[in-house]
């Protein structure tokens, strides 16, 4: 990866971010509902007070002006004040981000460790009962909506069987002082094993729900690319060399078959962002996704705008990362 390519990629971010800001801005403006009215609620205030509130939030200015003010401030790293929290948006987001990243990473790991072995197995046992079940399973995996599947899991594991907690990130009794913001790591750093176990139990259901569609997709990708690779001459040649079955399958075949899987996984991680909003809401997970959903309902414009910008940066970053991974895994490609 040359420096030139890197700079080119970074420059590509500029139009993407501008476009995303504009779209979000317009969509929020077009959404019915007035943040000031929502804030006032049932309280009795005078029109003057309302006007003052509106002026304080900058909402009395025309929308075009508001957009340019937003862009200008954003360029200086100022994303404004959250209407609801009365604190800088950036602070609020940074507070919530670790929970979301932690959930996404665990979902990603769950997806990878289940999808790859299942995909390989389905490819080796092509057309077997297992392969057919896996096909049906993956079809379900992509089709089941997260809110439905999440609630189903809650009903079974939490309500019916009392094995896992209904919602939240950790039980009140296990709460600890944060270090990194990642509870699974913090509890271990503090040497508090019961709290760690509690955190694991809390993250399990949301991570599975979030990772399910990705598991399904990655399994299909792994199966397809594994089947493709197993037909290649180099697999026959590896067999002709008298290598063990394990070595042929995992060193020769899987190493090549994983190239598409890993690329797809990196790109699909971006789609976890969208899934987060639903899953965090269903499981009461105190992350960015739920914050964004709440903020949309409250017409908390600055927060939604900043969060969506962040999503865009992450998404573009993941795509970029996928390209780099592809070159690392595939010695034939030089970017």
């Amino acid at each position: 990866m040359s420096l030139g390519k890197l700079i080119e990629r970074l420059l590509q971010l500029v139009p993407v971010l501008l476009g995303v800001s504009l779209i979000v801005f317009v969509m929020m403006a077009l959404t019915p509902g007035d943040p000031v009215q929502i804030m006032i609620g049932d309280q009795n205030i005078t029109p003057e007070q309302e006007q003052a509130l509106r002026h304080g939030l900058g909402l009395d200015r025309p929308i075009v002006e508001r957009f340019f003010v937003f862009i200008g401030n954003a360029l200086q790293g100022d994303f404004g004040q959250s209407f609801y929290h009365r604190r800088p948006v950036a602070d609020v987001i940074v507070e919530r981000l670790p929970a979301t990243i932690e959930l996404s990473l665990v979902a990603l790991i769950v997806a990878l460790v289940t999808a790859i072995p299942l995909g390989v197995l389905a490819a080796i046992r092509k057309n077997s009962i297992f392969d057919k079940l896996a096909t049906v399973g993956s079809l379900l995996g992509v089709s089941l909506p997260g809110f439905w599947f999440g609630i189903l899991l809650i009903m079974l594991f939490a309500v019916q069987w009392h094995i896992l907690p209904v919602s939240g990130r950790i039980g009140y009794s296990s709460e600890i002082e944060t270090i990194t913001g990642f509870l699974l790591i913090d509890t271990l750093l503090r040497g508090n094993l019961p709290a760690f176990w509690d955190a694991v139990k809390h993250i399990l259901l949301p991570a599975i729900t979030l990772g399910l569609p990705m598991t399904a997709i990655l399994m299909r990708v792994t199966r397809t690319s594994m089947l493709e690779v197993l037909r290649q001459d180099y697999v026959t040649f590896a067999d002709a060399k008298g290598l063990s079955r394990t070595r042929v399958l995992f060193r020769h075949a899987l190493k090549n078959a994983l190239i598409p899987t890993v690329s797809v996984a990196a790109i699909e991680t971006g789609s976890l962002l969208g899934g987060n909003m639903i899953v965090e809401t269903v499981f009461g997970w105190p992350g960015l996704g739920r914050l964004v959903v709440e903020s949309i309902f409250l017409r908390n414009y600055p927060l939604v705008q900043a969060a969506v910008l962040l999503y865009a940066v992450i998404y573009v970053g993941l795509n970029f990362f996928a390209d780099i991974l592809y070159t690392v895994l595939n010695p034939r490609v030089k970017l």
């Binding site: 290649q232 180099y234 002709a240 008298g242 010695p331």
Partner: protein, 330 residues
């Protein structure tokens, strides 16, 4: 010379939707110690499948149905998967047509050589630094043997960083790493340009002499056979149609198909004259009647050819599958 490999009555079938295809139908092969046997035939004649069967590399939907594959007297078909794995790469090695696709693009050349040694070489130190060093030294030695300069530093490179001829040499180095007794070279030159072809064939012939191994050279180029093989076997539609010492078969072919093949080779002395291809096409093997398989294309066919035709002696050390041999005295 005693036989190193003896294949008797080999039949390999592929189950397809349209029906069963007997890609190899009653093939006998004998490979003697130290010799180079040429296998000639067009695509689909069963020459590659015959030796994939020997190696135990026929994949589903294919299956070796009948026959004996005796290697140094041991029936390879009776071996367990594990035992067969110990034969492959160690006793019998194979090179494939196109080294570009046969070498793994994601593994370094060094790893692809050393893993064969790792799997089979019992002379290596048992473990640790010494073993790694010995494997490395042997890998370098093999690359040197096939004429790859500065082998030491090239072990870390990937196949795509080598030229076509170099890759072919690397594949040969891998095949020969454990000093096999038999090398099956499946179309070793088809993917190469003419000057490199000659180099690669010279290399195989030279190493054969040096290591005293036997070589089976699968090709559709009779010129290559004439230059490098002691004996030749001509295959057509899943059967052997003629076998014998190369010089005699080429000088005096006894089967009409062999004659047709020889007549279709362009020669400098025939410049300006049309070349003579064999008329017609290879028959569909599905539901083939038990007749002479060359019947539909044979210029000398007669009604008696519609009965099954067996191989018969055709002179000193020669066999052919043609009823005309019964009519014309040898």
């Amino acid at each position: 010379m005693s036989a190193l490999l003896e294949v008797r009555g080999l039949r390999t079938v592929f189950h397809t939707r349209a029906g069963e295809v007997w890609a190899v139908d009653g093939v006998d092969v004998e490979v003697r110690r130290g010799e180079c046997l040429g296998i000639v035939g067009e695509s689909g004649s069963g020459k590659s499948v015959t030796f994939a069967s020997v190696m135990g590399l026929v994949r589903s939907p294919g299956r070796v149905a009948e026959g004996e594959i005796l290697f140094e007297g041991r029936d390879l078909r009776a071996l367990s998967v594990r035992e067969m794995r110990a034969v492959r790469g160690k006793e019998i090695a194979m090179t494939m047509q196109d080294a570009l696709t046969a070498l793994n693009p994601a593994l370094t050349v060094g790893e692809q050589i050393s893993e064969v040694l790792e799997a089979h070489d019992e002379t290596l130190p048992a473990r640790g630094q010494a073993r790694r060093a010995a494997i490395r030294a042997k890998s370098v030695e093999m690359l040197g043997l096939v004429g790859i300069p500065s082998a030491e530093s090239r072990l870390r490179q990937y196949p795509h960083e080598f030229s076509g001829g170099m890759r072919q040499r690397i594949m040969i180095a891998i095949a020969l790493a454990c000093r096999p007794k038999l090398l099956i070279a499946d179309e070793p030159t088809t993917a190469l340009d003419v000057t490199i072809q000659a180099q690669v064939l010279e290399l195989i012939t030279e190493i054969r002499g040096r290591l005293g191994m036997s070589v089976v050279l699968i090709t559709h180029d009779l010129g290559v056979v004439a230059e490098h093989c002691d004996r030749v076997m001509v295959m057509y539609a899943g059967q052997v149609v003629e076998a014998g010492p190369t010089g005699e078969v080429i000088a005096n072919p006894r089967h009409p198909y062999t004659r047709g093949l020889l007549a279709s080779i362009p020669r400098p002395s025939m410049r300006g004259q049309p070349i003579h291809p064999i008329e017609g096409q290879v028959p569909d093997l599905i539901g083939m009647a038990p007749q002479c398989r060359f019947y539909s294309r044979c210029p000398e066919r007669r009604d008696a050819c519609l009965a099954p035709v067996a191989m018969r002696p055709a002179g000193e050390g020669r066999m052919a599958r043609c009823i005309l041999l019964d009519e014309v005295p040898v």
